[in-house]
Amino acid sequence: MSVDLSQFIPSFLEESFEGLELMESSLLNLEQGDDETINSIFRAAHSIKGGAGTFGFNGVTEFTHLVETLLDEMRDGRRNIEQNDIEILLESVDCMRLLIEAIRDETECDSNKITETSMLLEHTLALDNSVPANANENSVSTSASDSDDALSKWQITFIPEHHLVQTGNDPLFLFNALADLGELILDANCKELPALNDIDAEELYISWQLTLSSKASEAEIREVFEWVADECQLVITKEETIDELASIEPEATGDSSKEAIINGQVESTAEQHVSSAISADKNSSPPPSEKTANKAKNDLGSIRVGVDKVDSLINLVGELVITQSMLSELGNNFDLSKVEKLNAGLEELLQNTKELQESVMRIRMLPISFAFNRFPRLVHDLSKKTGKEIELILKGEQTELDKTVMEQIGDPLVHLVRNAVDHGIEPAEVRIAAGKSPKGTITLNAFHQGGNIVIEINDDGGGINRQAVFDKALEKGIVDASTTLTDTQIFDLLFEPGFSTAKELSDISGRGVGMDVVKKNIQSLGGRIQVESETGVGSTFRINLPLTLAILDGQLVKVGSETYIIPLITIVESLQPQKDLINRVSGDMVLYRLREDNVPVIPIYSLFNIASEFKDIESSLLVVVEADGQKIGLMVDDLLAQQQVVIKSLNDNYQQVEGISGATILGDGSVAMILDVSGIILMAHKKSELDQKHKKNMHFTPTQQISEGANV
């Protein structure tokens, strides 16, 4: 029968990547004589090799075999663990990752690097005739199935030792397996059978003379006896070839005419045939080719969930079912006396739903160590490249974060850590001169705060040079010489597009991603980034992220007959405007004085061109929101409830609309739009520019919105 295993390729790939991560982090922590660590590295390589072999990913198998051999020597103590070997192994892990990524993405990988590293490995192993063990195993497959078309008669003498059955072997099954090869005639020899009283039920006293008519080769017959070879006498003779016309595999005939007793040495031949597909089964499927990997493409979107999380989910569903049946019981014969019970039931339903929601969200949560674990290697490499000695401290690795957020926060974090190494930590001489330890420290810390997750990247370097940043911004024309800026404003300059210091062109940080991209990425996740820095003491970049992208805490507001949702995280405050704080400036631009700030007021009704109850700011309410460091006041008719809303993409169902980040469905079934605060700020800017150009009022008409939206 044929079994298609290609469905397991994605899980193999996923597991391999985990294995590689484990190898990498263990290699970085490897110390002499640490047997358990070296063992776990070996196991990871071993599993990858085994899996790759199964799917016919020969490149991975062959390469990993070399890695495994080196690790095996370390494990056995035949080789000391030298720093140089560790570097080679780290390189090898990179190569394995390249090879496996190439399988996942169905692309070719950089074979130069692979060849180079294999040669390095071979050199290290001092393999003169380096033939990876598995290289030829797969190619043998033709011999066994194609070989003997001729039917031969074999005489097999099988004399097992008495204790044969005690290792779980049973002659009966061996004979069954032989019978699969052809026609088998059994002749039992019971001469050694003792008297009934003397029989030990756990011993075997019988021997057999077998006659097999089969097309199988001697090696195939010997293979059946492979596991009992040391525990029996076995004589196999070829009596005659029934069909002499067919050609016979030369090797097999060479041996088969004379008697041979199986011993350990024959195993090598037997083994080649072991790997040679299924001899008797002509239907056996071809070895999984690269084609089967096609299915694996982009299919790594799976999550491995702890059983406890699933269990808690099942418990909650159980409770939900109970509540539901209680409610429907109530509904069957309802009268007013049961109102209290109904309320209690609904209360319970609310509780159940909330808990269920939290549990489901928790399934998407992964510990941030998934994003953190690439840093020890990164810092190790960077530290080597820059010659700075750096210690990396990871904290709060178990802090959980939504999988999607995790995937997208990786690159910005890498950028920030690179910056910390490159610009943050000073060279050892400078550190010593400043009275610090020559070894720099970078700390990555993650923790929960309110409904958010905070990730901090801290270095104990020289801090950000405010004057240098200011000068740079001046040079780039981002600021005027006359402006005085607060620390926060200066640090914010770092995130301006095109702002990069000359030093940044080194190959460490200069990866074509600027800090502005980092900020943009973080904002697209609904988060924000702040900088703190103290001269001589170090800098901290603090990233605030929502725990999940699927659910949002929102403030429902009413404008005319529409309900909109403002993300709670953006709201600074909501207020009833006071007449004396309203300033009308040119055109219909209105500013509201909020303490020391003048906040531009944006009436939502005019933004989206809808009817509203109040067109006058004094009778409306103002929701002051902040994004990109700018505050604006959104003019609404009324504030409704605050609630969590499930975000539905507008793109998927309609198209992107400027000023709207998504939609949700409210309790009454109606659709409400979620406002995109940064987008609205941008719209307001454009609008005021337009106003100034045309010196007249312009409203955004729906057609205009859509055409502009489509360009975004």
């Binding site: 044929s2 079994v3 070996f42 899996g51 199964t54 072997n169 756990e202 596991w227 195993e267 089964d281």
Partner: protein
């Protein structure tokens, strides 16, 4: 129904072996290391054990030795699933009481054909 205990620390290998066996009509249980396998074996009888050798916590050789001490497992076939095809590995397995070995890379057809030597 023939019951097989599959012991391997690699999820994908374990899943594949288990899947292959199930598709051929065997009943399977899975364990992620030797200790886990031993615990499962203590509460359930199996007709066949297929175990990886190199595993954390308890390796396949030790599992084999421990299983042979259980009255239920005195004659139960135990196959070691291994890429290490050296004679030394096989001898160690045999000495620990293993019935035989299956050499990785794991091939489903081969597996099914081979285990017929020890179970129905």
């Amino acid at each position: 129904m023939t019951k097989v205990l599959v012991v391997d620390d690699s999820n994908s290998i374990r899943d594949m072996v288990s899947f292959t066996l199930k598709s051929a009509g065997y009943e399977t249980a899975e364990a992620k290391d030797g200790q886990d396998g031993l615990n499962k074996a203590k509460s359930t009888a199996f007709d066949l054990v297929i175990s990886d050798v190199n595993m954390p916590i308890m390796d396949g050789i030790e599992l084999c030795q421990e299983l042979r001490k259980l009255p239920n497992f005195k004659f139960t076939p135990i196959l070691m699933l291994t890429t290490e095809s050296s004679g030394d590995m096989k001898m160690r397995g045999k000495a620990a009481g293993a019935t035989g070995w299956l050499v990785k890379p794991f091939n489903p057809e081969k597996l099914l054909a081979t285990i017929k030597r020890v179970v129905r």
